[in-house]
């Protein structure tokens, strides 16, 4: 196997399009940090002020070189798109939470480093991923159990606490579990695809045909896991992502919309029942429907978030001139509103556009993937980003209940950043057809 890996190791290929497109994040990062220095400190930007921008550009160029060396046929747009989002996220972190910015910068370096190492170390084909799907499933479940236990036992942890502390770092395993879930589901669905598409197991003397019990069990287990996560962690967002990714992959793999619709119905019904039963969920929904009457109380964050959007208007207040810090937890939960306040509706649309581009290119990777496993993997990874973005921004815009989901590459948060780069590395590793 080692010799085969060596034999198929790609040669370094010059990728001019990707390199040139990196000029966009480079200009965005350098320009924004320079502007921020002028606005906030009223001085000409020096090398120290631009250090994060230079660090990001250097990291992106190294990442580009790693892609050129190991995944020369990978999509050339994904890295520059991520670069732009990252530049925006980094400058907003320096703007909104300067005390945490250095830490976020270190996480960024760590994330890009992990990306480069993944590209260099991992073999070119993905057989190692698909061979032992249950290993990834069990790893994911263990991580979740650790989160439930350690996260809830942690001192001062809120009801949504899902981070696990290791030394000075804290890590949020649910972020990583999303990737593990996709890795597992791609293999699982590839294995059971035909069975799910043409159910062969008869029930009620042939009147009802369902897939084999193993497949049904696997699907029900995922539904149960999502609901458990919802109930125990009191957070709809991650559960919605797990289950949404599952439904999307199930639909694409089988082509049977009725599975997806049935699954959606099951989830909606159970979420409704849980919501009716658990008072905190109901309260949260009431606040979502009418935050105005409790605008100084439980509705404070939502209302402040909306005022922040309004304050941005069409063109925004300008970088450094907004007051998004009135929103509690703005750097993690409401970074999008802060961007809209300072960059306006135009800036917000640009961020949405970047995500649409990312998702479009991600689905293109899926359609071009050589094997079915690669297709499902790319599909799942892209869908994780898509759902995550929809859920958090939907929450920011009062279209959905707000959940503890981060905006990939933009929000403050180390584990989100790290897993997002792992996701990107995997996505770029999926080889297109020749």
């Amino acid at each position: 196997m080692a010799t085969r890996t060596l034999a198929t190791r790609p040669t370094f290929t010059f990728r001019p399009r990707e390199l040139l497109l990196l000029l966009f994040p480079a200009a965005l990062a350098l320009g924004s940090f320079a502007l921020l220095t002028v606005v906030l400190h009223d001085r000409w930007p020096g090398a120290e002020d631009l250090r994060p921008a230079f660090g990001l550009v250097a990291g992106l160029v190294l990442a580009h070189l790693a892609v050129s060396a190991r995944a020369p046929r990978a999509d050339p747009y994904l890295l520059p798109i991520v670069g732009c989002l990252q530049a925006l996220g980094l400058v907003m972190t320096y703007r909104l939470a300067p005390a945490l910015a250095a830490r976020q910068f270190n996480w960024l370096l760590l994330g890009l480093g992990a990306f480069i190492v993944m590209l260099l170390v991992l073999p070119a084909d993905l057989r190692w991923l698909r061979r032992y799907p249950y290993f990834w499933a069990i790893t994911g479940i263990v991580l979740l159990v650790i989160t439930f236990v350690a996260g809830r036992a942690g001192a001062g942890a809120g009801p949504n606490a899902s981070s696990v502390g290791i030394g000075p770092f804290s890590f949020q395993p649910p972020e990583l579990v999303r990737i593990l879930l996709v890795i597992f589901l791609a293999a699982f669905l590839e294995r059971w695809r035909d069975q799910l598409r043409n159910p062969s197991y008869s029930l009620a003397w042939g009147a009802l045909r369902i897939p084999q019990p193993q497949a049904v069990f696997g699907m029900l287990a995922l539904w149960g896991l999502s609901m458990l996560f919802f109930i125990v962690q009191r957070d709809l967002g991650p559960a919605l992502i797990y289950y949404g990714v599952f439904l999307v992959m199930l639909y694409v793999a089988t082509g049977r919309a009725r599975y997806a619709l049935a699954g959606l119905g099951l989830f909606a019904a159970s979420a409704f029942v849980v919501g009716r039963t658990l008072s905190y969920v109901r309260t949260r929904f009431d606040i979502l429907l009418d935050p105005w009457s409790v605008a100084n109380d439980q509705g404070y964050q939502i209302v402040q978030g909306l005022i922040s959007l309004a304050s941005g208007g069409l063109l925004g207040q300008g970088l450094g001139y907004g007051y998004a810090n009135y929103i509690p937890a703005v750097h993690t939960d409401y970074i999008f509103n802060a961007i809209v306040e300072e960059w306006g509706l135009m800036g917000g649309l640009a961020v949405l556009g970047l995500f649409v581009l990312f998702i479009g290119r991600g689905y293109r990777v899926a359609t071009l993937a050589r094997e079915e496993y690669g297709q499902l993997l790319a599909l799942g990874l892209t869908t994780v980003i898509a759902l995550q973005t929809l859920i958090i921004i939907g929450g920011n815009l009062k279209l959905l209940p707000l959940t503890g989901v981060t905006l990939s590459f933009v929000s403050y948060g180390g584990s989100s950043l790290l897993t997002s780069y792992l996701l990107l590395a995997l996505l770029l590793k999926i080889e297109p057809r020749r």
Binding site: V252, I307, L309, L345
Partner: protein, 464 residues
Amino acid sequence: MTGNISRIAAIMLMAFGLLSLGMTYWTVVRGPALLDLPNNARSVEFERQIQRGRILDRNGQVLADTQMTDQGPRRVYSYPQLAPVLGYFSLRYGVGGIEAAFNDALRAYATSDSLAAMRYRLLHERPVGYDVVLTLDLRLQQEADRQLGNRRGSIILMDTEGAILAMASHPGYDPSRLDETFPQLSADPAAPLVNRATQGIYPPGSTWKTETLAAALDAGVTRPDHVYNDGAETLVVNGFPIRCNNNPPGVNQFDLAHAFGYSCNLTFARLALELGEPRYTEYAKRFRTDDTLPLEIPVARSQIANQDLTNQVLLASTGFGQGELQVTPLAMVMIGATVARDGTLPRPHLLQEVRTPNGQRVQGPQTGSLATVVQPETARQVRQIMEVAVNDGYASGAKIPGVRVGGKTGTAETGRGTPPHAWFLGVAPIDQPRYIVVVMIENGGEGSQVAAPLAGRLLAAALK
């Protein structure tokens, strides 16, 4: 499978389209309404960015200025006794007085002027407010405050154009400490937040006889040399006896000027009755003493009666300044200003000009006359009679050496066992009128003893 992926991509794209619509809704469609919410702290933040304009007296003396500190703007009032007029500026309690009247100008029209707003939005230039120059003269204001001292009341000094040179109202407050003291101030029974000169309403007492005099002369009901035999008389109106009350013992026969100087109630009840209700009311309307006078800062409505003057007893007692009269000191100074001029009522004003930080005038004073009240000859006659009151009557406390001063005292019954309000209305010089003064001291006692000397000293300072 590729087709399925495209379908998923299309669904995702639609979802992102929904997000764009949602975002457009909040930023553009609902934006302005959201920004007006009381929960929006940004309006306060924006206010903190504004270098609020200065308030100056007519000679350029700074009365209010803004220092920009790290904690935000700090309004500095170099002469806090003017608080009832200048008002206050507080990010918590808003604005009052002149600060409220010219708030937009002082804020450089930062939100109403789209150009300034645009400059702020795009260039982030700190908006620097316009300067408001008042007609007040700090020197005379200080003199008025000194004269009033610890007494509760008010003083207005006006020129014949209607420009207010001094406006004192005591007790006052420290406007720079308003954020801490506002709750106590607004609950204080002494009402320090009220500008007594424009918002206090009181019975005017005998100073009111000036209006009755002007109306009666103008309507031809009497002449300055008409002799009255009222000193020992009693006029019974519908069973209500009216006597002269105030004439010196033994002086029972006097002309109109001395009836005014001795403040004979009977003569003025007679004049009101002779004028009759319609004409009396008509003159009161022309003097705007049954109305709210226009001024840059809030003014209370004055009234001659709760309903009307058809009741003869009410008309008679209104003639000498009691009845149901409730007037502001500003309304009284306007009576004086009308007779000091050619019988026209000047527009009272505190604003001299609004100018940009580099001195360009953007708004001038509102001047001119509001109405023609009496004929010029009438005004001249009233002035001469007012001079007699100072020289021979009870208004002698207002005498100034070398200056012809006219005036009228007032001692208004408050009717609740409390001391009467002391009033004085004065004009100087009589031959070429320049200044009109009103002194009003709540429960001060005799107008001739308490109010007249204050008015004389202030007029002397103004004429110096």
